[in-house]
Structure formats: structure tokens, C-alpha cells
Symmetry: C2
DNA sequence: GGTTCCATGTAAGGTGTTACATGATTCA
DNA sequence: TGAATCATGTAACACCTTACATGGAACC
């Protein structure tokens, strides 16, 4: 099973979506954009080759025979794939990785020539957090009516996908709140 | 100045550190690991070629002549480099990008065979947040005695680097708090 | 049957990591 | 002078993005 070690989280995520329901690559892209895109983005140029790779490993297979080179193709996960997915879920994870150019600018902006520059950087940061928050809220809105944090007992009843999205929404809202507080009175 | 557009935030960060003080590549690596590594990591394999690139553009220059192929070399930013850095600080930023395998697992863990599996994923998440928090706190400890959020008027007196680190600390602490709350009573 | 959007696929390049190699430096 | 560490450098590869190309499907 050494070949499993070489799969990327992107590949596992693809299998994850197929474990929820058989579907096409395009469907997976749409779902990924609605759900995990904020902490694990998937692009088309990544997805389609990975589908082939996974099929070669026997973890997924096409439903129905291929009809033409660019025709819509649906996929399903195999029993082998399901088992491998379970093993991945229990395996150690790669460390969190963030790339945030805005924070880098904020860090160095004390060296800017204009003294009020940190303010501008904070504003840019605020706008970005606002965007993220709006996106997560809309994703959340389709899943859950209310938006507050669950208590532990409530959390026990929620599925993991809802928990993840709530986590993201809460973190974004907190960051937003903090930025507002530091920037001060101005709106939006 | 179209060549500026092709510089990466990594390159700008290197120039940012050189704008604080002339120093060696190794010094930059150490500083980066103490400060911006959580939102913009820099590896040696990235740093040293970039120093050459920046020198070729005339944005930085070596201090003293090179003494041997692997000898310690200090660098300083040029006037051109300083101006370019200011322009970068005001330019639009690349969108935030996060890669968090733990959250992907949490998202899909509702499909795990064991029903209590989301719990395990949350635990892994908690451990990671704890690690991040500890790191940020130690970085913060060398800069500031107290760890609470600044009020806007206090913030005005702080430099941007302190603000960034406080931001990271607060976000990590909030996430930690949330995870604890959802996971429930168990410790550490 | 032509136009528009859906869906898949590919190629090129950018960005960064890992692992390794090598030369200086320091200190016993 | 030998060993350990500091500091630089490089090569190979992994991963992902972008841009583009192309073929189906649907709708008029």
C-alpha cells in the first residue's frame, strides 16, 4: 500500500466527494467551490488528471463506458477506494500552510514613508476578511438557518461538514471583528 | 518597471527584512522563522536564489566583496530597492490561500466507519492550533509583556509588526477556544 | 444547423519544498 | 588539526495555476 502515501490531499478530497455520491468531475468542482475551497482549493487542471490517476489505482471507476473524448463522465468510488479513504482519515496530516500577502505587507508597513500606512494595510485586510466571511455565510445559509456557535451537546448532533463550515465562519467573523476594533470607528 | 510585477511576495519579504537592517541570508531566514513564518514561510532553497535575482535587478547589493564560494555574505537594500518596496506595499495583494489537510479530513469524516470519528479529527485540529498558539505566544513574549487585544487608541501607538503578531495570536487563541468548546470537557 | 454554454482535457510555467552537497568557521 | 556547526548553494521534483483547446449538449 505504499502507493497511498503518494496521493495528495487533493486526490483524497476528490475521493471524499465521490464517497458522498457518484458524480462527474464537473460536479466535484462545483461542490468543492461551495464547501472546502477556503481551506483546500481545487482547480480543473488539477482535478481531471487526478481522476485518471485514481482510476489507474483502482480507487474509482467510470460509470458506464466512455462516450467520446470530451463527453460528460460520471465516476464512483470502489470498495478499495472506500477503504483507502478511511485509512487516510486516520493518518497524520500535513501541517497547516497559509500564504497571506496582506499580512506580510502589514508586517513591513511600519517602514512605509507615510506614517498612517498601517491603517491602509489594515483596511485591505478587513476587506479580504469581509469577502471570506460573506462567502462562508452564504455557504452556511444553504445548510443551516442560524449562525451561532453550537454548544458541545448540539455539536454532537451536527455532522462534520457543518462543523467545519461553522468553524470557518466563526474564525472569519472573529478576525473581522478584531480588524474593525483596531481600525476604529469607520464603517463598512 | 514591469519587472517588478514578476517578483513574488517572498522576494518582497526578503527586501523587507533588508530594509530593517543590512544582514546575511541566514539572518533573514532566522528572522522570518521568528516572525512571518505562520503566514508566509521562506525556505533556504527559495531564499538564496532570490538574493541573486534581487541583486541582478539592483534592488539589493552585497556589503563587502564576496570572500569565497560559501562564505557568509551580508546584504543591504539600495535606494531603488527601497522605492520599489514602498510601491509594493501600496499595490493590490494576492488573495489569501490556505492549505489545511486537517479541515479536509474533518469535512469528510462524517463518512468514517466509526461514528465518533469527527471527535478524533477535532482532536487533531486542536493539537495543531495549540502548537500554533504556543509558537505565536513565544514570539509575542519577546516583544510585549501583556497579551490582550489592543484598543484602537493603543493600536495607534503600536507598530505594524506587533499588530500582525497580535492578530495571529488572537485568531489562534479564538480557534483554540472554539475547538475546546466543541470537543467538550476533556483537557489539554 | 448554428450558437451558446457545459464539460473535459492538456500544456506550459511558476512557486516552493526537500534533500543533498559543499565550503567556511569555531572551538576543543 | 579534527569535529561540529554555520552558511550558502543547487538540483530534482511536487504541486498547483493559468490559459487555452476541444468536443458534447441544449436550445432556438
Amino acid at each position: 500500500m505504499t502507493e497511498e502515501a503518494s496521493l495528495t490531499p487533493t486526490a483524497w478530497a476528490i475521493m471524499g466527494f465521490l464517497s458522498l455520491a457518484p458524480q462527474s468531475g464537473y460536479d466535484i468542482l462545483r461542490q468543492a467551490k461551495e464547501t472546502i475551497t477556503d481551506f483546500w482549493g481545487i482547480s480543473p487542471g488539477q482535478l481531471y488528471p487526478q481522476l485518471q490517476t485514481l482510476a489507474n489505482k483502482g480507487f474509482i471507476r467510470p460509470i458506464g463506458e466512455a462516450q467520446g473524448p470530451h463527453a460528460r463522465q460520471r465516476w464512483e468510488i470502489t470498495e478499495n477506494g472506500r477503504q483507502a479513504l478511511q485509512r487516510w482519515l486516520k493518518a497524520p496530516s500535513a501541517p497547516l500552510r497559509i500564504r497571506d500577502e496582506r499580512l506580510v505587507k502589514l508586517f513591513f508597513s511600519s517602514r512605509a514613508e507615510e506614517p498612517e500606512h498601517p491603517h491602509n494595510a489594515l483596511h485591505a485586510l478587513k476587506a479580504e476578511r469581509q469577502r471570506l466571511l460573506t462567502h462562508i455565510d452564504s455557504a452556511l445559509g444553504t445548510l443551516l438557518p442560524e449562525k451561532e456557535l453550537p454548544t458541545p451537546s448540539e455539536a454532537a448532533k451536527l455532522g462534520a461538514p457543518e462543523l467545519v463550515i461553522r468553524y470557518g465562519a466563526h474564525a472569519a467573523r472573529t478576525a473581522e471583528h478584531w480588524v474593525k476594533r483596531v481600525v476604529g470607528k469607520e464603517q463598512a
